[in-house]
Symmetry: C2
Subunit: 553 residues, 2 copies
């Protein structure tokens, strides 16, 4: 890595003035300390990762080694809009309590950007960078040689290596490792397959995922293309390929291992802007062969993009991913700029594939390891038939909850005319709300409505209503979710469907109401609500100068 | 056809009381006269087809013969919700001025329904039904043997034949012609291919389009399956296959003929509920082979389903389709019940396929033959750079407009910070509005926002904002549309993108404002607005008892 950074530290005031520009500034931040951050804002997620300040997008190079998860991310530390792409860096032992690290990769030359990519550990020193260690890390990424207006230019695939486990990187002196003289060739994600490294990468505007192979991460050979698949949008970005277990959703019985190929498209999503889709298939060492021609979407809302699977998680564990919780249609305008930051990641999620009744093959995605920050059970209540619960969580310091609602034993012949299980998060102060519910008739939809939250609601791209046909299971209905100041993630029927929903309230939502109506008399509703600890709260005590921020010791 | 109907005529009062029930009533209407209708309501489209009264869904059996277009449709004449499915019937010479005809097909037995299907002309008497004529018509459809609760039951493929050109049908006495003892097997669409009849039909919950072949429309042989393709939703419905020309979108140069396979899914659309997708490929007589693995959607909004191509239109003419302009998530609740009807069809559209810059292969769809009802040019205005126009169309009796806006000559380097071409339809009385616009930056989206219209806006499935990345063409921007009391159809970049958008205003929208801002100084905006004649207005004069309705002479 070329070290272009000085030791000056940009203030939040500078950031605020920069929020409407993408002027490139490659050197405002120290290389030897994390960018400082204030995590106390009312919109600032407490159990989700967000950057200390400035603008973040795609997760990059996520990997696990020796008990530590590393998260790199597309980062503009100098402004509150995309541009000037660095690789920010943070580490965690549990994926909720994050320690911000110094910026890992800086743009190498003026007007360039370190675009998205991946990272791998190289314990066997296949790369030759690590003759004396077994914890070497190699980052593989796109360098974009842009113009002064922030436009894209030549995109080459470059690598950098870290001899200190991923904290600092050296730029490989023979870069680029792949160069097709293309301005639309990016986002390499590398995995280990047998004795080889395998890269999936997009020729974005050719609707092509290319697969390359390498013995050493330096010399790459083209293997195959997977083209013109799924919803094309207008650009392919951020592919991932990961081995994925298959499992019966009801019995838990294990099936064969398959391969999951994910692809993000931007723009051109059905709901506008950006979305991630996936293909289930088998990778044979050179080609990805999907099991069918189907197109499947990761999320039924609008704020989930560029998810990446952690490299190097323990054998036998379901793959874990984390995604950028935003949408390019509005990410540069959302109101968190008032707090000096923009964009959060989803919670980490575990994943497997199942062949679900009526749905067919589908990705099951659920929050991973959330017990790590679960604080107190603040409500447990069950009832039969019609009933309700009110949960006042204004005393939960983080303002973050985890909840679960199960409805079981519905007798279809005894339902009333409008059978529902609805739940609403609201602010008693402003009256703002996020409404949600199951409708147990027709196509049995589950729906989310963020139109009752004031912030940003007038934006022309801010869709407010999302729904999914929850036809998977006619007898057991489950919804689980995490709500965290400005981000709501909901998982329906134990991860068969998932939605990531941003919201920007004027006042914190502090009241949860749950009610069932017109259910069959013996249908049972089980509600559980847990408060979550802030992943950032300890920081003020540890390092008072950086409110709510962890710094590397 | 079994004739179960009596000559009684249900009143609108009866319909109004029935709007919240799907109680089956197989015999409320005359067989020898059209169901009467009142087309004067403030929400009633004037240049779109809607049923005289009661509930309509899919277009069925649409064909053209001897100068007349025939439209059959899924019809519940006895209630304002789906159920009790008949085939309604209407005819037109221009696809805008419709003449309601007597109901064409009645449910054969109690609790049954005549579900969706198609119709063909059989001039060579392949069927044997027409020994003495060359204008025989055969309808091919699904009979659903349901239960008393309106649920689906056995679904068989049946045929009926008409010796009077499609007005009255006889039930084939050897029905069913295909029976797989399935309750999810429906919506046969038959086309002529070479010397054979070819049917596409779905096994809905198996995500399968099956292709059958027949020499005589009676004996059908399985040919192939096309399975697990596209967005699966939870059910496949209403497939269509049609030969489609390819053409350069800019030069008009003709390419090879391809085949278009359309498929509607319900529920499970990305925006919730129902949506239509399509595959471009080649039919070889037995198999449909798509040109790629892509999934393409017909519409970027939420109100377009089950489109069907007219059989028998002249050789060399682009295929014409018409679709149901609604969504199963809310169609049974929309506020037009107050006027005694629910659901309209789209305008007829002509279609071809092009390989568009950045978009790739895509279906181009545009209003067909709208000149037939174009009345007066009520505005023509051009300007350069920033400018605006206000069009008061309160004097347009139909309240229906056709409009076109072109923006040409944009110089990307001279754009201001927020370059837009926005246009709004509004009511000066209520302040309600539909807002729309191009944003000439970022991904160059075109967007539609119906959130400013009061009616139905609180429905939890009523998405209000729709957008598409209009990255096709960086120098010429075009939007064309038809707005008609409660239905708005918009076509972007000469049909590269299309949206069908219902809206239910308290007061009629009568004012169109158009404004450009931050364009480059020499960019040119050309606006044209035409009033449209009501397709139903003459009826009151012709048959005073049926307001605004045509009856068969």
């Amino acid at each position: 890595m070329k070290l272009l950074a000085s030791s000056s530290v940009a203030s939040l005031a500078v950031l605020a003035s920069a929020q409407n520009t993408s002027t490139v500034d490659t050197s405002p931040f120290p290389t030897d300390a994390p960018v400082p951050g204030n995590y106390t804002g009312g919109l600032r997620p407490q159990v989700h990762f967000s950057p200390p300040q400035g603008f973040m997008n795609d997760p990059n190079g996520v990997f696990y080694q020796n008990g530590t998860y590393h998260l790199y991310y597309q980062y503009n530390p100098a402004a509150l809009v995309a541009g000037n792409q660095h690789w920010g860096h943070a580490t965690s032992q549990d994926l909720y309590r994050w320690e911000n690290q110094p910026i890992a990769l800086y743009p190498p030359v003026e007007n360039s950007g370190v675009f998205s990519g991946s990272a791998v550990t190289d314990p066997n020193n296949t790369s030759g960078f690590f003759p004396d260690q077994d914890d070497g890390v190699v980052a593989i990424f796109t360098t974009n040689y842009g113009d002064a207006n922030g436009g894209s230019g030549l995109q080459t695939q470059d690598i950098a290596y870290s001899r200190d486990g991923g904290y600092t990187f050296e730029w490989y002196d023979q870069n680029p490792v792949i160069d097709y003289n293309s301005s639309q060739f990016r986002d390499p994600k590398v995995v280990r397959y047998g004795d080889e490294w395998v890269m999936v990468i997009t020729f974005s505007q050719e609707f092509t995922i290319s697969i390359f192979k390498s013995p050493d991460l330096k010399n790459w050979t083209f293997a195959s293309n997977f083209t013109d698949a799924g919803l094309l949008g207008a650009q392919y970005e951020c592919p991932n390929m990961v081995q994925i277990p298959t499992r019966d959703h009801d019995t838990g019985e294990e099936g064969e291992m398959l391969d999951l190929l994910t692809l993000s498209i931007q723009p051109g999503a059905p709901l506008g802007g950006s979305v991630t889709e996936y293909f289930i298939g088998r990778f044979n060492g050179t080609h990805f062969n999907p099991i069918d021609r189907a197109t499947r979407l990761n999320d039924f809302a609008k704020d989930n993009y560029a998810g990446q699977f952690f490299y190097g998680t323990p054998e036998g564990q379901d793959p874990i991913d984390i995604a950028w919780a935003s949408n390019w249609q509005y990410t540069n305008r959302v109101p968190t700029a008032s707090e000096g930051w923009r964009s959060a990641m989803t919670v980490p999620r575990s994943n497997y594939v199942t062949n679900a009744t009526r749905i067919g093959w589908t990705l099951v995605t659920e929050p991973f390891n959330i017990d790590a920050i679960t604080n107190t059970t603040i409500e447990e209540k069950s009832w039969t038939g019609n009933g309700s619960a009110i949960v006042d969580y204004s005393q939960v310091e983080s303002n973050a909850l985890h909840f679960s609602i199960n409805v079981t034993g519905i007798n279809q012949t005894e339902l009333g005319t409008n059978p529902t299980l609805n739940f609403t998060f609201m602010s008693p102060v402003s009256g703002e709300s996020i409404r949600n519910g199951f409708l147990f008739s027709g196509d049995n939809p589950f729906w989310v409505d963020r139109s009752g939250v004031n912030g940003f609601v007038d934006d022309i791209f801010w869709n407010t209503k999302f729904s999914v046909a929850d036809i998977y299971n006619g007898t057991v209905w489950n919804v689980e979710g995490v709500i965290d100041r400005s981000i709501f993630e909901v998982f329906v029927d134990r991860g068969i469907h998932a939605a990531t929903v941003l919201y920007y309230p004027d006042e914190p939502l502090t009241l949860l109401s749950v009610a069932s109506r017109d259910l069959s008399p013996n249908a049972k509703v089980d509600l559980a609500v847990w408060s979550l600890e802030s992943g950032w709260a300890d920081t003020a005590e540890a390092t008072p100068a950086q409110s709510g921020n962890y710094t590397r010791v």
